[in-house]
Symmetry: D2
Subunit: 368 residues, 4 copies
């Protein structure tokens, strides 16, 4: 990963500010011959798009993606794929008052001190708007992975409210505005977030990602471990403050007996695990079990209650954020997290092919 | 990060297996003119060295590091620094029985399926022994950062036992075999780990890292964010299953008011924060507050209780680990985590210098 | 360098095909606070633009560049700079007949065999049209280098015709359609190229680049040597078949006495060289002397004389190229070469700042 | 390529100085399961080894390579391969007088100005001794490429003396101390170099490399073109001042008709070229034709005739080099060039597998 690129062989370079003319990205290294059109990408963008319920920012953006290169007669050509999404509903006037003031919890101050200059309109480069590029790249990554790999995300905690895992149902995530997988939790979440929104406050969240059907052997230990790259990819999303794999932080409280994932032989020579504390990754390498990751999203700092801050002239001020914003930015982080997971897996699929071209994606041990 | 290297400008490449003739690494990009000798590195290696108490593996390794290049007449020359540590106490016989069997929770199976071949002696490349190279590189990174940056680590939870933060005292970490910062917690930890060891079991841990005096402006958003690179660096350590920055996962349960770090002006034009939920990083960039990170270490899978597994011939077997091992590998992860934090900071210090050479490390706002 | 990016800290990612909707690029890592607008870039694009004389392709492209990100209120912000140039005069019909046939000397066959699919319209990704992106990036690189660094290019050989170096005058390069620095050579070149064009043939060329005022100390030996990166950058330009530095291939025929650049002290403690066989680079590092490089451009393969070839169905065919093309593509390679040199220097300037921040750009030896 | 590493997927990191305890390197990304031992590497090192004839430096180095990691039970494991070669015949006293003086044409001054400090013993990091690491890595690269790829090098010009290509015979390169492929040229070369050596002077050289059997499709256009990476790799070798592919600089003097490589169909559907002006690379991609490259080596600057120079105190001095040195360093550059070509090809083989895993190495067009 460098400044604004991530991945090595499936490499995404992102650009754009919240209130510039457009945002976009370049996907380099995509294999040739993959059918691809805007229609493959748009549904994922629509899932992330603002303005879809009262629980997300009311900024109206169609988020129509255009492919400007790398696709010819409906298939990828192996050359870089340029993606462009125009900004339409910038309303710069909303944000004028924060040109000089640094919002607590925002990147405002840090960008100012690092660069000496910043595009303050709508958060500029640090705006969550950039995550649309990630989602578009993730849609291409899914095509690279193929339909055998299924990647799903869900919000498993909203502020102090969690879910009952006994009721977990992935299909449910499409039926409520929170990508919540527990239908029983939805009414309480709805009530809580409505009140939060009304109060001009905000809530954090925990997102869970699961990838099934991931080929065995992905991950380049020791420093390109699959979990290390995934940690970086998820931590790079706006407002994320923690990442864990499998049992995660809870594993610290276990003893070795409880944490071990025992193994038996499956009917066709495949290894079957009796549990998945590891979250599908051992020694930095995928084992064929579902990859499980979670990440924590802090509550957005854009709130109506005044907070003490300073401005760029060294004056002490109070700041409150009146502009459109997300009361729980974790909601829209769900498709973003899915996209980052897809990109990391696609990158490692290519890396594995390069180094170990004969390694089977679904290995079997030689039973006799 | 690629396979066995990490960092961009302060770049570490690591090599070696647990039972080969040696392990080592190459540090490339280190600035010239820095006084450096083995004596600067050895104390950090000694802190990580096995065999120092009954609570860590009894493998006896002097872990004497040799600098083979990049230093001339006591100072770095700007050319790559080659580090070599010989393996002395390999005792391959200890591990013979795991040549064919895959230990649950270990990298054995994953390496076998990915590469088709593996050095099974002592875990080979996936052994925690490799972390000595990280520690040596971290010692050089500290020299690059200078004495103004103070990096410390502590074990803040061992298995189910935590600490009382009211008693937190960094000096205490040098006075007990756990790097525990709470003297009140030590007796209970001692008792717990002694029993765990006796039972042939193991415990997980949570490590906390703090870096003070970090220059403002480190971090290359959006994908080279300081926290993203730190997440990758820490997750790449053996047995780590989770990473969090500042408030971390707990921030998900907060509302925006509680999570905001308010700001006031300090006496000399510096910005003062009234809290540090952010862990010293906003928008991926260091703010001058202490950088705070935690990571979770799972309990080692090397336990005496037999676990069900399979071997490379597809036979179902039981595995128990008789060899020397750490009942709580989290202990030795403390200096390793510190080293990774140092390396990430040194890399970003160089990156910041490159792009923003005139940005002050301790910026002041223009008060009037 | 990876697939479609080059540079490390001043990093350019390029995308686009000859007959797609647009071409463009992303410049990442540019320092913040540099005044920049389209007006800084356009003059360099205009110099490369087709259709300006009868000696270059008659394709009509205004080559208007748009900056879509990374600049705010007239200065760079340190975030990625996205550049977009629309394609306007594609005339796909001109190229229809080469959809299936592989033009000798072109990339057609190679792309077909590598990717299994290719955008054959106007050469697709392999078209010289892409070099506009390099030129735009080079204009930004010049801003990073500052006005103290002067980069110039000239065509010093066209087909079999050379120049008389006794008459070399850089100012002359702006006064003829060949960027020829020798006014005495121009009439013969004009006659030769007019005849070549009329015959539907093409000519090769040699371009010379000189950079004056380059800071001392640029270059990252051993594998990021300044000349190694420059060789790669120039060889990556379409149709380039050779690169040399300073005396270049001619140095092979010299003895050590003749090739040595002797040194004396200048009046202010600077080192003065009595000759510049080295082309300003020793051990991969800039010495403060002018950087001198040359590269050879082969004659374009697009000619009216039929050549034997094959098509993608395995049939033997004859190919002749009727479309618009450059009789001497070396002409337009002059601003492209300048741009690549600028990008390499900017990248290494940033790298030098990172590793050796206190090294003076114009060092003086301590005379007494 | 970064400071001291090259390649992306087959990545070599080199370290060491001429008079330190050892030199070495790390090869990362090598596929697993390849039989490898020191015996595979040593013959190539022996070919480069000094002291083998009166025409190369008399430094006595056995250049015995040790593999410290990455190989287990005789095969590569996919983990990094650490290579170590001890320095034995350093004789530092030979070089004492150049501690303060900058030899014209050497890297001495440049390193001093860039880093402020340098290991002056035997040229330190800039010594040709480092090329042993390249040769060792190249031997591993050849194993990755397999026996179907044959890489050969020859010296085709020594100072002002060339060869008669009508007599070119690759087998001859093993029968004379110059790797000269023309037996008719050897006596004159011998006489010339003997006189040069006696006079304490030196000569330049041109080396030609040919790789046959290279898979079709290697090269990652536009900036990871096979020829661009090859140019960088060859230019990074000590004393190299020029690189060309195929017809190279001579192509600039040709017209399009003469330069086109016409194509016909071979008996089994393969494309046959009627000439190879392109040197086996079109559009940055290998076509299956032999890859042909040449590079120019300047005469070593270490000569007995005094040259004017300066020292680090700013004093004007005269320098002559009394130590052991190569009268024609181009001789030993032959195996080094072969090794760099092998490394570039191995890297691109892995890159091609990653992106286009189904592309055949020997494609056939569908004849009917």
């Amino acid at each position: 990963m460098s400044h604004n690129s991530f991945g090595h062989l499936f490499r995404v370079t992102s650009w754009g500010e919240s209130h510039g003319p457009a945002i976009g990205g370049v996907v380099d290294g995509c294999p040739a011959g993959i059918p691809l059109s805007e229609a493959d990408i748009q549904p994922f963008l629509d899932k992330r798009r603002p303005g879809q319920s009262k629980f997300v920012t009311q900024r109206q953006e169609p988020d129509q993606v255009r492919i400007l290169s790398g696709v010819f007669e409906g298939v990828t050509t192996g050359t870089p794929i340029s993606l462009l999404i125009e900004n339409q509903d910038q309303r710069s006037k909303d944000y004028g008052e924060i040109a000089d003031r640094f919002r607590p919890g925002h990147a405002d101050l840090a960008y100012h001190l690092k660069y000496g200059v910043r595009d303050y309109r709508g958060g500029g480069r640090s705006s969550a708007r950039e995550t649309a590029v990630r989602v578009a790249a993730g849609a291409i990554a899914r095509k690279v992975l193929g339909t055998g790999v299924v990647i799903r995300g869900a919000m498993v905690a909203m502020g102090p409210l969690g879910i009952d895992r006994a009721r977990l149902d992935w299909a449910e995530t499409d039926r409520n505005p929170f990508f919540c997988p527990d239908p029983g939790a939805v009414p309480a979440w709805e009530e809580k977030l409505a009140a939060t929104r009304k109060a001009g406050s905000s809530l954090g969240a925990v997102i869970e990602l699961v990838a099934e059907g991931v080929p065995v052997g992905l991950g380049a230990p020791l420093y390109g471990k699959l979990d290390a790259d995934l940690a970086s990819a998820l931590m790079s999303i706006n407002a994320v403050k923690g990442v864990e794999i499998g049992e995660g932080f809870a594993s610290a409280a276990l003893d070795g007996e409880a944490n071990a994932d025992e193994m038996r032989m499956g009917p066709e020579g495949e290894v079957e695990f009796l549990s998945n504390h590891a979250g599908g990754i051992l020694g930095g390498i995928s084992t064929g079990q579902p990859i499980v990751a979670r990440f924590a999203v802090k509550p957005t700092s854009s709130i109506l209650t005044p907070r003490r801050s300073v401005d760029r002239f060294g004056q002490e001020v109070e700041v409150l954020t009146k502009g459109r914003h997300d009361p729980c930015v974790g909601i829209r982080a769900v498709p973003v997290g899915e996209a980052m997971l897809a990109c990391v897996l696609a990158d490692h699929l290519l890396r594995q092919r390069a180094q170990n071209p004969d390694a089977p994606e679904r290995p079997r041990l030689p039973r006799n």
